[in-house]
């Protein structure tokens, strides 16, 4: 029996910190179970709860099996079509639009992080191969914070998270690893076993906060001010690392002056909600524990002042002399793909004498609707579900109505797929080759083809190959996509001698045995040679000033909305990654999924009781949830988790963060600057 079991290497390609290497057990061509790959030094043979449920993803009864077409769009009148019909329909439209406008600029894609494997950039590569077109620009996840890091140290690099085992103090600012980066707890706990103190600072009392030695609640969007408050206490009491500041920091005098003149501890306490003795406690912890790590999550930069929040916390790491220190330092995001050639993403298309244009991911539909010469007519969506996740839902709905053709590639009939003309079934990561790196740990792993594609599913790469081949048959030279190149050849092409050196490999085939770890730069600032213009850590950033931002990490209060007094936070649920929720079948009825949690005092004012059905609304839209009262939730704040049947994105504000342009081409999304009102639904309204 056991001899019939074949074991393959796979990597979880979700938009997640852990990027786990897994072993897939296959019997008679069927995936029967998954395990963590014990040879992966970060994941160490463990997966998260969602990862262990992957057989539910592959064999979900809801998975799409065949290409589908509906007419009219949104009617639900789906008919099964062959791939050939699908390619013919799409090709005919692409060629017609090409002839109508004399270019391919009316063609657009919207593709992001549904699968972050390197070969999944085949979608971008396919559009490049058409010549000029309409691109997607920006990043809704982390770009504001990434710019903040770049202004300070010149480059956005995060140290090896395994080094947290050496910390004496770990301060997690607004991240919830218990639900979103569970493997990190292994390293944090190793430090705790040696006496390290764990502090969680978060507006939400998360599962991670519950295990911390100290949990400190802070008002949303004021984390940066809290960091400045701690800095002020440390500086006033002379408890900062003056030699580090002297040698390696630019802008100390102006920052000192700013702290002296503009930061009042009274105001810090009033705005952050953190009491004086707690501020003092934090200052004590930072000054008494060496090394001290700051881990900055992504939520606190999803604010209008998000970049500044991150700069202030990073400054605290510098002030305490922790930057560049093993077991200290500042953790945010590690852009591992930056090392790779990314040949698909960067595929050089033919020169058609015109230039591509790009739409900002955070205001995609409104910008798309305003395009002229030519207007946008065709949209290809892959690895995305904007109708569940994006801001500007009303504009999205309008855009999807107005386009001439919408194609969505997905494994499931998502809200977005439902609004498309053609839906193409995508493979899971068990069904094709890929390579994956993480934006957190420093490992690289190979994803093998463990099973045949589910029914007629195809990968983004396979689709690009076949569609471009068809297009070239119909109009020779339409695309220069190398449609003969196999997945393995694309992988091979990523492994330049530099990449092999960086990962200590002789060939990418070595990855068939064991995953590889980055051999260099695991602690980017060990030598304290910062990549800024001055070569120092810039508390005062001239680049920021040139970009019309404050040169110093200053705090400024965000706008609020008096007619909608409750701030809404929309974090990740334990059951899902954004709207991807295959694990629900096993994790069970998701009680949090259809709930809004609010403070009992806010509830009383609105005559809402626990369990009541309520409407949550603002100028953007309205959703229905069951009310849960919880005194741990800050007054003036509500929590709704992402995804589900009636996703909460319809209430998002569409506001931008202060930074993001530098790294990703457009500002980050201020997803947490969303304000709502809650009212009880009385029976007559139902």
């Amino acid at each position: 029996m056991l001899s019939d079991v074949k074991v393959f290497k796979n990597v979880c390609p979700r938009n997640c910190y852990n990027t786990c290497a897994m072993l897939s057990y296959v019997v008679d061509g069927k995936l029967i179970k998954v395990e963590g790959d014990p040879s992966h030094g970060y994941c160490q043979g463990r997966l998260c709860g969602k990862g262990y449920a992957y057989t539910r993803y592959v064999y979900s009864p809801k998975r799409l099996r065949y290409p589908l077409k509906q007419y009219p769009r949104g009617s639900g009148n789906w008919v099964r079509i062959t791939w050939e019909e699908a390619f013919n329909l799409i090709s005919a439209k692409l060629l017609e639009l090409n002839h109508r406008y004399g270019s391919n600029r009316s063609l657009a894609y919207n593709k992001c992080s549904g699968n972050v494997g390197i070969l999944h950039y085949a979608t971008e590569g396919m559009f490049n191969s058409f010549g000029s077109h309409t691109k997607l620009r920006g990043n809704p996840c982390m770009s504001a914070g990434m710019d903040a890091v770049e202004y300070s140290s010149g480059e956005g690099r995060s140290p090896d998270p395994e080094a947290m085992t050496n910390s004496k103090l770990i301060v997690i600012w607004g991240a919830n690893p218990a639900w979103t980066a569970v493997h990190q707890l292994n390293f944090i706990n190793q430090a705790r076993d040696k006496g390290a103190v764990l502090v969680v600072i978060d507006p939400v009392y998360t599962a991670t906060a519950a295990t911390a030695d100290h949990y400190i609640q802070v008002r949303p969007g004021t984390d940066g001010l809290l960091a400045l408050g701690i800095a002020k206490v440390l500086v006033e009491e002379g408890r900062y690392d003056s030699s580090f500041v002297k040698e390696h920091v630019v802008g100390w005098e102006s920052f000192y002056k700013y702290l002296q003149e503009k930061v009042s501890l009274e105001e810090v306490q009033r705005l952050t909600g953190v009491a004086e003795n707690v501020l003092q406690l934090l200052a004590d912890l930072y000054s008494q524990n060496d090394p001290a790590t700051n881990w900055c999550g992504y939520g606190l930069q999803r604010h209008q002042n998000g970049g500044q929040n991150v700069r202030a916390i990073y400054t605290l790491s510098a002030l305490t002399g922790n930057v560049g220190k093993i077991g200290g330092d500042f953790y945010y995001f590690h852009p591992s793909t930056d090392f790779f050639p990314m040949n698909l993403l960067n595929l050089q298309g033919p020169d058609d004498g015109q230039v591509s244009r790009a739409l900002d991911i955070n205001n995609y539909p409104s910008q798309a609707l305003s395009l002229v010469d030519p207007p946008m007519k065709f949209l290809w969506i892959a690895a995305r579900n904007p109708l569940s996740q994006d801001q500007e839902v009303q504009d999205w709905t309008r855009l999807l109505k107005e386009l001439e053709m919408v194609v969505t590639v997905d494994l499931f009939m998502t809200k977005t797929a439902e609004a498309s003309d053609i839906v193409l079934p995508a493979t899971s990561h068990f069904e094709d080759f890929d390579i994956n790196v993480s934006y957190w740990h420093h490992w690289l792993a190979l994803n093998q083809k463990a099973i045949e594609p589910y029914y007629e599913a195809k990968s983004d790469l396979e689709i690009a190959k076949e569609l471009t081949r068809r297009l070239n048959e119909l109009q020779p030279g339409f695309s220069n996509f190398p449609s003969e190149r196999t997945a393995e050849e694309w992988i091979e092409s990523e492994f330049t001698s530099e990449i092999l050196r960086l990962y200590g490999l002789s060939s990418w085939r070595d990855l068939e045995e064991v995953p590889a770890k980055l051999q260099f730069g695991n602690n980017p600032w060990l030598d304290l040679n910062f990549k800024t213009n001055t070569g120092k850590f810039e508390i005062f950033s001239k680049n920021a000033k040139d970009d019309k931002l404050p040169a110093l990490p200053r705090f400024w209060a965000e706008s609020s909305d008096l007619s909608f007094p409750l701030r809404m936070l929309t974090p990740q649920n334990i059951t899902s990654i954004h709207s991807q929720n295959w694990a629900l079948e096993w994790i069970g009825s998701d009680k949090r999924g259809n709930v809004v949690t609010l403070n009992p005092q806010d509830a009383v004012q609105r005559k809402v009781e626990d369990g009541d059905l309520v409407r949550i609304y603002n100028a953007q839209g309205s959703v229905t949830r069951k009310a849960r009262l919880n005194p741990e939730v800050l007054q003036g704040m509500v929590i709704i988790y992402q995804g589900g049947k009636e996703p909460v994105n319809s209430l998002l504000s569409g506001l931008s963060a202060d930074m993001g342009k530098k790294h990703s081409g457009s500002e980050g999304a201020a997803l947490y600057n969303a304000f709502v009102e809650v009212e009880k639904i009385v029976r007559s309204q139902i």
Binding site: Y54, A210, T211, V274, A275
Partner: protein
């Protein structure tokens, strides 16, 4: 020396991530409504991850009219599926909801302490999956130091003498925002 295999649960470390619960389903291919291991949050605010406790006085064994339960020399309590006729007596008798009723098969099933893994020298799937070291395997006849027989929120242990020990939760410091700005 006697042997009674059991679990040690470190309530201080468990974060309720459900990796253990899902790893059990993945390992044992249990249907959606059958969870041999379950993670829940207690009214105390702590998490609890429990499976069958392979009790010293297994109530399941005592009540089963088909004598489907056996207690092995290593203390592991097993159910013989072939004998089970689906009467659900054990399901209601066990204080820990360990036997779970499989609607499809119309039979009870429960944690096997991952016997097939044990036979090849592997730890139970749930223990291997735990990220925080909250779950481990012990011989409860020789309970490790600084462990206690129960924690607040765990069902009464007097009836069945479950083979589980706990590390208690330490006091933690919390600082809430007290008033509205």
């Amino acid at each position: 020396m006697t042997e009674q295999m059991g679990f040690l649960f470190n309530a201080e470390r468990c974060v309720g991530c459900k990796s253990c619960e899902m790893a059990c389903k993945n390992e044992n291919s249990t249907p959606a409504n059958v969870n041999w291991r379950r993670v829940s949050s207690l009214s105390t605010g702590n998490n609890l991850s429990i499976s069958c406790n392979h009790c010293e006085s297994p109530e399941c064994f005592r009540v089963c009219p088909q004598r489907a339960y056996v207690k092995r020399r290593d203390g592991i309590v097993m159910i013989n599926i072939n004998r089970c006729d689906g009467c659900m007596t054990c399901v209601s008798a066990c204080p820990y909801k360990a036997p779970q009723f499989d609607l499809e098969k119309q039979k009870a099933s429960k944690c096997t302490f991952c016997l097939p893994r044990r036979e090849v020298g592997l730890l139970p799937a749930c223990v291997s999956a735990c990220h925080t070291g909250a779950l481990s395997v012990i011989n409860t006849d020789q309970p490790p130091k600084n462990t206690v027989p129960t924690i607040e929120g765990f069902p009464d242990i007097r009836l069945t003498k479950p083979s589980i020990r706990f590390r208690p939760v330490k006091e933690k410091l919390r600082y809430w925002v007290s008033s509205k700005e």
